[in-house]
Amino acid sequence: MSKVLAIAQFTLLEALRTRVLWLVLAMLVLLGLGSLFVQHVAITETGRLQTGFLAASARMGVIFVLCLHVASSMVREFNDKGVDLLLSLDLPRAGYFFGKLLGFAGLALIIAAMTSLALACLAPLSGVALWGMSLACELMLMSALTLFCIITFVQIMPAVSFVFGFYLLARSIAAVKLLSGSQLLNPNAWTTKLTGWLVDGLATILPDLGRFTQTGWLVNGPEAMSVLGFVVLQTCVYGLLLVLAGLYDLYRKNL
């Protein structure tokens, strides 16, 4: 356990030394300035527009930054044979995996807290707290996915492409499912049936990220904390799936 915590600690230290948090801070400042511009051009509901712009753009931005950091950090470790060195010590592969996962999860929590602080002056605290906790779950899920993809692909380009494609699809899968079942389509055509089955299949295996981190929680007034129940449950279920998939690939690797 102490080795797992040590790996987690060094993962966080690496994030600090590569200035990831400074990058996130700079990005939040720039987006904050952008939100001021949006507030300036609006003729009504200026606060609502400012909050909506900052929340949506910050969410996309921090996901992008964290996934890229996880991917580049792991690829560097594979290329520098750091993984081989650690595994040559008395450390099981699962210990290394959980250590990295814990470190990236800690980084996700810090980034979610920074983003929530940026929104705290624009939206009610209860909404910001709900939004922030959901963002933390979303970031942890995405870092677990990126970790799994890097272990599988070992290269940044395919891993990051897969992660972002997955993210876009997972966030829009509910709407895509509605589109595939549109009454305008011919229900008897084999293409419609095939598309429907494919989309239904995808919706079953993808997490419904469209229900995470909603801007409405910030701008539409207080939402019940029970909405977080689905978010936490989905994070736990899918997170466990990604952990098992990542461990399977790591154990199967010839290192």
Binding site: A42, F53, S172, A175, N220
Partner: protein, 226 residues
Amino acid sequence: MLLLSQITFAAMQPRPTAAAQALRDAPPLPVLRASSLGDPIALAQGLTLYLQAFDNQPGISIPFLDMDYAKVQSWLARILELDPIGQYPLLMAAQVYGQVSDEAKQRKMIEFVESQFHADPNRRWPWLAHAAIMAKHRLHDLPLALRYAKLLREHATDSSVPTWARQMEIFLHEDMGEYESAKVMLGGLLHSGTVTDPHEIHFLMGRLEQLEAAEKSSSTSKKRLP
């Protein structure tokens, strides 16, 4: 050498010319929902600013009279479907697109406001109140204005709706010009705390000043006539 070639090539290109781009139909709602990546409110806000800025394209300004109001209406309706709580599209319909000097287009906008009022009367009542004033003073259609005032009385029943809004029928019967009516309504909105956004207050005050100037110039020209 290559840099000089690039500079020469760029200098030889014709200057860009501004060409007004017509407003397209709003995309279908399912497509917009899929594009919103699970965050329809953020997309609605982006589309609102896109529509607001559409009359000011790079190098050219399109008068509202030249815009296809059926398409404007479709965009406003889509934005409301994505974000039903937001009031921005209704302000644009009532206070921006409804202010053209084309009666058909004014009617289109206030009919849009009326159709959207029924979906959420206790939140959308200010726009129907404004539509009632427009119907009386711009369209000179007192029966339409009274019908809107009656809808306000019957459907905007929440305690947050101020009394003067529910009693608009009395207010419409009074012999007041549009400027006086708008001034009373803005005063009521400010007093009841319905309007608090400083940008919106600034915008509505600007509209009031335009109305005052328009009324003064029309009364001056009436005095000059023999």
